[in-house]
């Protein structure tokens, strides 16, 4: 049935791994062979269905026993985590130290940076499903995420910095829904903006910087919400984007 196009190539077509020239040939073959085209379409639908069924797992809050299992060390203490916390506390977060000793204050800034960095690390490498709603539907995206997160959000415009909006997605965090906007520049470097409700009591903070596993995060609390911008484009570049985001959001968030 597929004398000219091997079965494996039909699979490779679905997975987007054919060289461009061969991809076009396979496409032509499919146009002339509807039965194969139907199979290929069904396989492609399967991939979509798998994502539709299981991607929600990515957004679930991580079970604490599993988080602990990543830290329980060969070494006696999760040295790096402790060192990171000490470093952050030393740089001015002592005021939040109360929030560090328990799971009760998940949105304390330290957690905000960590969670934002994890969400960045999880979603930014996705080649086919980096976002749930793409930038072509930006108005819908912003309206939807604003409604779910509970504040009027805006997707900052980073075009002056060379980054275009790719889209966004809804995540779940320990304080409720989380919005993640993703941007990409011409060489496909990605940054994400992570927004969620902050723990009550933290009204305003200045910019903070954290480096989590090589991801630079600039984060701040404004009113009831925490914002974190993450990326691996160098600390200075992230800071410029964070400045741009902050200044653009002041009017929208009713800066106090």
């Amino acid at each position: 049935m597929t004398d000219d196009v091997h079965e494996h190539e039909l699979n490779a077509y679905v997975d987007g791994t054919l060289p461009e020239a061969r991809r076009l040939e396979v496409e032509a073959w499919l146009a002339a062979h509807p039965a194969d085209a139907a199979r290929v379409q069904a396989w492609s639908d399967q991939n979509q269905s798998l994502h539709a069924t299981f991607d929600a797992v990515l957004n679930e809050p991580l079970p604490l026993n599993l988080v602990r299992a990543t830290l329980r060390p060969a070494l006696p203490v999760p040295f790096r985590a402790v060192a990171a916390l000490l470093a952050m506390m030393a740089t001015g977060l002592v005021g939040y130290a109360i929030g560090l000793n328990a799971e009760q204050a998940p949105a304390a800034p330290v957690y905000l940076a960590r969670d934002a960095a994890i969400a960045h690390a999880v979603f930014s490498p996705e080649s086919r499903h980096p976002v749930e709603v793409d930038a072509a539907h930006a108005d819908h995206l912003v309206a939807w995420l604003s409604k779910r997160v509970g504040t009027q959000l805006q997707a900052p415009d980073f075009s002056a910095q060379g980054f275009d909006l790719l889209g966004g997605r809804l995540l779940s965090g320990e304080t409720g829904p989380v919005a993640q906007f993703m941007y990409q520049d011409r060489i496909e470097r990605r940054v994400t903006l992570y927004v969620r409700r902050a723990v009550s009591g933290n009204k305003v903070t200045a910019f903070r910087h954290a480096a989590e596993n090589g991801v630079d995060v600039f984060y701040w609390i404004d009113g009831d919400f925490g914002y974190a911008l993450s990326g691996q484009i160098g600390r200075k570049a992230i800071q410029q984007l964070a400045d741009a985001a902050y200044s653009q959001m002041i009017p929208a968030s009713g800066k106090r």
């Binding site: 060390p73 999880v122 080649s127």
Partner: protein, 165 residues
């Protein structure tokens, strides 16, 4: 001191894969936990600079295979045991339940390949490395898995759902 690679950022995807693989929340998270424990013990064997994610999935695969052996010592895994009726009708919108059931009926070796490639976006060579089989085996399992899924998913709605329209 040697820097420890961070496992936590791989946690969401390990959980997604385990959930799809086992079809069960508790069993999936147990599998993830076992994988992490194994990873911490064997971390010295991981080559810095190589793909940590692929390595973690390899550990999970090995644990999963062992579990299957223990759970069903006598049952052999037949790659082409099922022959499902094909409705010939158009594909209805698939529900999560349809997907779960079809995956559960897929032989494990095919399920793994389908999920690694179709859900986790591993390349064929990477998937082969994770599973410890030649790339050609990955290709043929993938092909069979997709055809099997297609038959089951095309067949199921006609059997299970009465369309009210």
């Amino acid at each position: 001191m040697r820097a420890r690679p961070d496992l936590i950022e791989h946690l969401p995807r390990l959980r997604r894969y385990a959930r799809a693989l086992t079809g069960d929340v508790t069993r999936a998270d147990d599998l993830v936990q076992d994988t992490l424990e194994r990873a911490l013990v064997k971390l010295d064997l991981w080559q810095p600079g190589s793909d940590l994610r692929a390595w973690l999935f390899t550990l999970m695969h090995n644990l999963f295979v062992n579990q299957i052996r223990i759970r069903r010592p006598r049952e052999t895994v037949l790659e082409d045991a099922l022959d499902e009726p094909v409705s010939g009708g158009q594909m209805e919108a698939l529900t999560a339940r349809d997907i779960h059931e079809a995956l559960a009926r897929l032989p494990e070796v095919q399920r793994e390949v389908l999920l690694l490639v179709g859900l986790e976006q591993f390349g064929y060579a990477e998937a082969a490395q994770v599973l410890g089989v030649p790339t050609g085996t990955v290709m043929s399992r993938l092909s069979r898995a997709r055809e099997r899924m297609r038959q089951m998913l095309a067949g199921e709605p006609a059997i299970k759902l009465k369309l009210v329209k």
